[in-house]
């Protein structure tokens, strides 16, 4: 079963990598083919199968450590991307999201040990874990897609400022569309990020007797919440649009990544298992 998991992870990696190449090729050739989308869906199904196999191996939902949450997080990113692509008919976003997914699964497969199964510690054996992590997957997955859109905006904006007439400028969606979609996705994800903080706090109260301990993971999740709250405030209340707000969307996702990876390695605390 452990070998099957490794094989599925490698197959998912191949799927996402192939999709990345196809999306990049589409961007530069102007091809409107949907093959890249179908390959992404196959990769996503393999990603789902990896989660199922991991669940069978652990005997519970795979949410207990960094590898398991990472696999679920990746699943969330690609799921949100597929929904966005079908809803807004915008497959150029795949040029940025799929390479990100490829790097992510490479890191999970080769730097973490997918075959290592450790029993879940008693504090994690709670239904709050499912609610807390599931809301995090939705929020962080959506923020990853908003990050890709913000990057596209900044690249296109920079190329226009430089007077570039390259094919890339024409192939990328209009700045207004990228800006609006980034906002919509952050607007959608923000309540879930609030739920991540709230469910984590309620659970901590039950498990540790403290709803807030200023643990680095908690503090960084709060920092992320503040960054996105600032983004929404300046856009809604002060009417800031364009470059400044897009930079903030990028900074927000950097905070998400630091909360997930950086805090675990650099600032250990109560959440040292994740």
């Amino acid at each position: 079963m452990a070998n099957l998991l490794v094989n599925l992870l490698i197959a998912t990696l191949v799927g996402y990598f192939t999709a990345s190449l196809l999306y990049i090729a589409n961007l530069f050739t102007g091809n409107r083919s949907r093959v890249a989308t179908y390959v992404t869906i196959i990769g996503f199904l393999l990603n789902t199968a990896s989660l199922v196999v991991r669940s069978l191996l652990t005997g519970t939902l795979p949410l207990g450590n960094m590898f398991e949450f990472g696999l679920f997080f990746l699943w969330g990113i690609v799921l949100i991307y597929i929904i966005i692509e079908f809803k807004y008919k915008m497959n150029t976003v795949g040029v940025f999201v799929l390479p990100m997914a490829t790097i992510f699964i490479m890191w999970l497969t080769f730097s973490q040990d997918p075959t290592r199964i450790s029993p879940m510690m008693p504090a994690l054996r709670s239904y709050w874990l499912h609610i807390h992590v599931f809301t995090a997957v939705i929020a962080y997955g959506a923020f990853a897609v908003s990050f890709a859109l913000a990057l596209m905006y900044l690249i296109k904006d920079q190329l226009i400022l430089m007077g570039s007439k390259s094919k890339l400028v024409k192939s990328l969606p209009e700045l207004k569309v990228l800006e609006e979609l980034t906002y919509k996705i952050i607007f959608f994800a923000m309540p879930f990020l609030t739920l991540v903080l709230v469910t984590g706090a309620v659970w901590a109260e039950y498990a540790w007797g403290k709803y807030w301990s200023w643990d680095p993971k908690e503090t960084w999740a709060l920092i992320t919440w503040f960054i996105y709250a600032v983004y929404l405030h300046i856009r809604l209340m002060m009417g800031w649009k364009g470059r400044k707000s897009m930079i903030l969307a990028v900074v927000g996702f950097i905070a998400v990544i630091f909360t997930f990876v950086g805090v675990t390695y650099l600032l250990p605390g109560l959440h040292s298992y994740a």
Partner: protein, 377 residues
């Protein structure tokens, strides 16, 4: 908020020593909390000032009664139309299809519409601010009127709850056990307790990780556990019986009559690691009643009893904080209703004109509505 984010980043990066005394470090750690408090005070003032007006608008029923006055006050855009009757149907259908709440009034040659949508979104930011402020108020309240402490006791023993948490409250530990799942992994740790105040009304309860026990406002959390190992050591210096207290998973070095050893709970007995002048001499698993020998004597294992460590807390602010969290969670989804917009339309049959005013904080929404309502040729 940006400053709070920066201050919070700093607070996680500064190295903190146990029992930190440096003023600079303490200031860095306190800064985000102080700023959060200031933000909440600011939010409360802002919301208190604006909430009554918003509530009035939200609870007020949609009306065309004073529309003549509004017509005078508001600047309308005027568009030419071909046929007022078909336009009237078009506008009515538009409001119905887009789920607007609307009213219509005909008087003489004019037909007036007023339509609103997303009223609840007006209140959402204020409720979110209130929720956040309630969380902070609860936290401050708890820090002033709450208390926390720890107690530990072996099975069959009693321990006093720290007096700052509850006066004259005593806990008797009836049992402590480790619960295993079907794969033989640790599922939980459970303490069976009897709690009483002044020896009256004893109440029995169970506390385990994620399932605290509550009694008279005091919450008991399963925090840690350990073992009392009783051993008898015999060396050239004599023979002595000792009970060694070891916290679980914490392999502490013990010394009895000059003999150093580590004793650790294992299945059906204990693991003993003997040391000879700082070097590991022997590691052995022994059962109750068995003896292990070393160059200058012997150690006999007499038995093990578990003890439990409980965190006890009395925090009247927790319910307030949870209420704040609930408000924050619910209202954060209220934003999804969409931004508030109000549309006023007056059709003039005689002049074949449509006067239109769209109110919304979003320019994009305004433009979209105007475009859609003027799309009929």
């Amino acid at each position: 908020m940006a400053i709070i984010a920066v201050a919070s980043i700093l607070s996680t990066l500064v190295p903190v020593a146990p029992n930190e005394t440096r003023i600079f470090v303490k200031a860095v750690l306190a800064l985000p909390k102080i700023l959060m408090l200031l933000l909440c005070i600011n939010l409360l003032f802002c919301t208190t000032r604006r909430l009554p007006g918003v509530l009035r608008k939200v609870t007020q029923d949609i009306s065309l009664e004073n529309e003549e006055d509004s017509f005078q006050k508001n600047s309308y855009d005027t568009f030419k139309i071909k046929d007022a009757v078909s336009h009237e149907n078009f506008i009515e259908n538009y409001f119905k299809e887009n789920k607007y709440k609307f009213k219509k009034k005909s008087s003489g040659e004019s037909i007036q519409f007023i339509a609103q949508k997303g009223k609840l979104s007006l209140i959402a930011p204020h409720l979110l601010h209130v929720g956040l402020a309630i969380v902070l108020i609860g936290a401050v309240f708890g820090s002033y009127f709450g208390a926390e402490g720890r107690l530990s006791a072996g099975v069959g023993e009693t321990a006093k709850v720290p007096v700052e948490v509850a006066e004259n409250m005593v806990v008797k530990v009836n049992d402590f056990k480790t619960i295993y799942d079907e794969h033989n992994n640790i599922d939980n740790w459970q303490s069976d307790l009897t709690v009483s105040v002044d020896g009256k009304e004893p109440v029995q309860g169970v506390t385990k990780v994620n399932h605290p026990f509550k009694y008279k406002g005091v919450v008991f959390y399963q925090s840690a556990y350990g073992y009392f190992h009783t051993v008898s050591v015999e060396t050239g210096m004599g023979e002595v019986e000792r009970t060694i207290r070891n916290r679980a998973m914490d392999k502490m070095l013990s010394s009895v009559l000059g003999q150093f050893f580590v004793i650790d709970k294992a299945k059906d007995g204990v693991n003993v690691i003997l040391f000879e002048t700082h070097d590991k001499y022997k590691s052995i698993h022994i059962k109750k009643g068995e003896t292990v020998e070393f160059p200058n004597g012997k150690l006999k294992y007499l038995g093990t009893e578990p003890y439990t460590v409980l965190t006890v807390k009395r925090d009247p602010g927790t319910s307030i904080v949870m209420l704040g969290f609930l408000i924050m969670s619910l209202t954060s989804f209220l934003f999804w209703i969409g931004r508030y917009r109000e549309v006023r339309v007056t059709l003039d049959r005689a002049k074949k004109s449509m006067m239109l005013k769209v109110s919304s904080k979003s320019k994009a929404i305004k433009e979209e509505i105007i475009e859609e309502l003027t799309s009929k040729k």
